[in-house]
């Protein structure tokens, strides 16, 4: 199996990121534009405004629609787009930061990976040097990636979706940098995910599976870059898998009857909505049994892993403020919340 090269519709591998960005802008010129010399800062056409906190998200490519798909009015003002699975560079992040700076400071949001932390921190230092106040939020939703005592080490996976959405809405409501940061951190503290992978993904440069997984195996807790998870075993029925993903989330969050959540059942790539909805059915069933209320659900591909087969489940525990921010309208290529 590892001998077969994965087929992809790309041109030269070294051109994929610029060509993807060109494709996004050509598809959504009413929402997106590119600013700065690196060509890697995708900026909302009508997002950044004087006096509004600038929201910059970013990370490696291969997770489409993350990250640039979440750029637009009411959500992120810009995304810094790295190479496949590689953090954007400080220069690329700075292009984004400069484009969104409206005098009220800039907030960076990204998944908690060494590479992203290093690069965004360098950019943040540069901003501070220029007199632009910044705040950084590392999303840490993946319960499979570290125990609760070391939750600050956890990876960011599909929970990006909720944390970005909340941060964008907070900024849209005109909150100041500390207010936006507080909202984003509240979302981050109340978001948990866990995923399962069924097949490997392949980098466009190698077209070879990133890792080996048996023809009847799944990996519970695998990361969105194919980082090993916590258990490998035979593929099981959707309900069994769903329970195995959901249980640690419920436990980690200490959810109880009467709580309200938003749900994201996220496809990693090759797994389609037919399967994702079967998973959501079970999620809703289990939450119902626990007396936990679903405020809103999203089911589809929101933070992908190239063409990996698999899925993840994310819960965001809501309070009134988070709920209001979640419901705040936004218009991006990947998510429209209508007013």
């Amino acid at each position: 199996m590892t001998e077969v090269r994965t087929k992809k519709l790309i041109n030269a591998p070294e051109d994929i990121i610029p060509q993807m960005i060109a494709g996004m802008v050509s598809a959504h010129p009413d929402i997106l534009t590119v600013e700065g010399p690196t060509g890697r800062a995708v900026v909302a056409v009508d997002g950044p405004r004087d006096g509004k906190v600038g929201i910059v998200i970013g990370g490696g490519s291969g997770h489409e629609p993350a990250f640039a798909g979440y750029v637009g009015r009411g959500l992120a003002d810009a995304a810094a787009v790295g190479n496949v699975f590689a953090s954007p560079s400080p220069e690329q992040i700075m292009d984004a930061a400069r484009a969104v700076d409206g005098g009220a400071g800039v907030m960076f949001l990204y998944g908690n990976y060494t590479g992203d932390v290093l690069n965004f921190d360098m950019a943040a230092e540069e901003c501070e040097g220029m007199g632009i106040p910044t705040r950084s939020v590392q999303v840490i939703d993946d319960v499979a990636s570290a125990p609760k005592e070391r939750q600050h080490e956890r990876r960011g996976i599909a929970g990006d979706f909720f944390v970005f959405k909340i941060a964008g809405a907070a900024a849209e409501h005109g909150r100041d940098l500390e207010g936006c940061y507080a909202a984003a951190q509240s979302a981050n503290a109340n978001t948990r995910s866990m995923g399962v992978a069924l097949t490997a993904c392949s980098m466009p440069q190698t077209l070879k599976p990133n890792f080996e997984i048996g023809p009847d195996e799944m990996e519970i807790g695998m990361g969105v870059h194919g980082e090993p998870g916590i258990r490998r075993g035979k593929v099981e029925a959707a309900d069994v898998v769903t329970d195995e993903l959901l249980e640690p989330i419920l436990e980690d969050m200490g959810l109880k009857s009467g709580d309200r959540v938003a749900v994201l059942v996220n496809g990693l790539g090759a797994t389609g909505q037919l399967e994702l909805y079967i998973i959501h059915r079970r999620v809703a069933e289990v939450l119902g049994e626990h007396g936990i209320d679903i405020h809103h659900s999203w089911v589809g591909e929101y933070v992908s892993s190239l063409e990996m087969a698999g899925a993840s489940i994310t819960l965001l525990k809501l309070d009134d403020d988070l709920q209001m921010l979640l419901d705040t309208p936004c218009r991006t290529s990947a998510l429209t919340v209508a007013g």
């Binding site: 954007p88 560079s89 400080p90 990976y113 070879k208 870059h225 980082e227």
Partner: protein, 212 residues
């Protein structure tokens, strides 16, 4: 070559770049096992960007060694970002400081290697034993300094470096990672060579060809 000067560095970057390009998929494969499979690509792209940059005119003209390393840092970092961008950028900037007063004797190569290692450590906060590239850079630096201090011949210093680098790389196999992406695997990282250590060993492996 008898000096670690601009010509040395230019040749070093060119040979290292070729070596990393040749071993791109080997490094990606190592990274696939305990990471995300992109290490070979990031390293190959980063060093290629450095070589590309050094082909164009540099100030001052002719460029000083520290100017070369400073430009290398910028070129690598802006090309790849990733984890290795900031780490190697810091390595090169730290090397630039170490060569700011002018070229070193080739025998003092350990000093430059240590400067690289210190730069990486400052930026990434890892220590030896964390199963990272530092498990190659520090042992290599130490081996070079010891051999130099013992008055060894240049060729023997280089052999000491290569041996220490290889041993350092292999030492990462049984380690549990505590930095970077692999740190979330706990015991499951055991038995896999760290990709960053492997690429560090590949970089150091070109030194004999650079110098002799």
């Amino acid at each position: 070559m008898t000096q670690i000067d601009s010509a040395f560095l230019i040749r070093f970057f060119r040979l290292a770049s070729e070596q990393l390009e040749a071993d791109r998929s080997y490094l990606c494969k190592l990274d696939g096992a305990i990471g995300d499979g992109d290490h070979g690509t990031s390293m190959a792209l980063g060093f290629a960007a450095v070589v590309e940059r050094l082909r164009r005119p540099l100030m001052p003209e002719p460029p000083t060694p520290d100017a070369i390393l400073t430009e290398a840092a910028k070129a690598f970092l802006s090309e790849v970002g990733a984890t290795v961008g900031p780490l190697y950028a810091s390595a090169f900037l730290s090397g630039a400081k170490c060569l700011a007063a002018g070229p070193l004797e080739t025998r003092q190569i350990g000093t430059l290697i240590r400067a690289f290692a210190d730069g990486i450590r400052t930026r990434g906060k890892a220590e030896t034993g964390d199963k990272t590239m530092l498990d190659v850079w520090y042992p290599a630096a130490l081996a070079a300094e010891n051999a130099c201090g013992d008055g060894a011949a240049l060729a023997d210093i280089l052999t000491a470096i290569t041996e220490a680098a290889t041993a350092g790389r292999d030492s990462t196999g049984p380690m549990i990672a505590s930095r970077g992406r692999a740190a979330r695997l706990n015991e499951r990282s055991i038995g896999h060579i760290d990709p960053g250590a492997a690429s560090a060993a590949l970089i150091l492996s070109v030194l004999p060809e650079v110098i002799l």
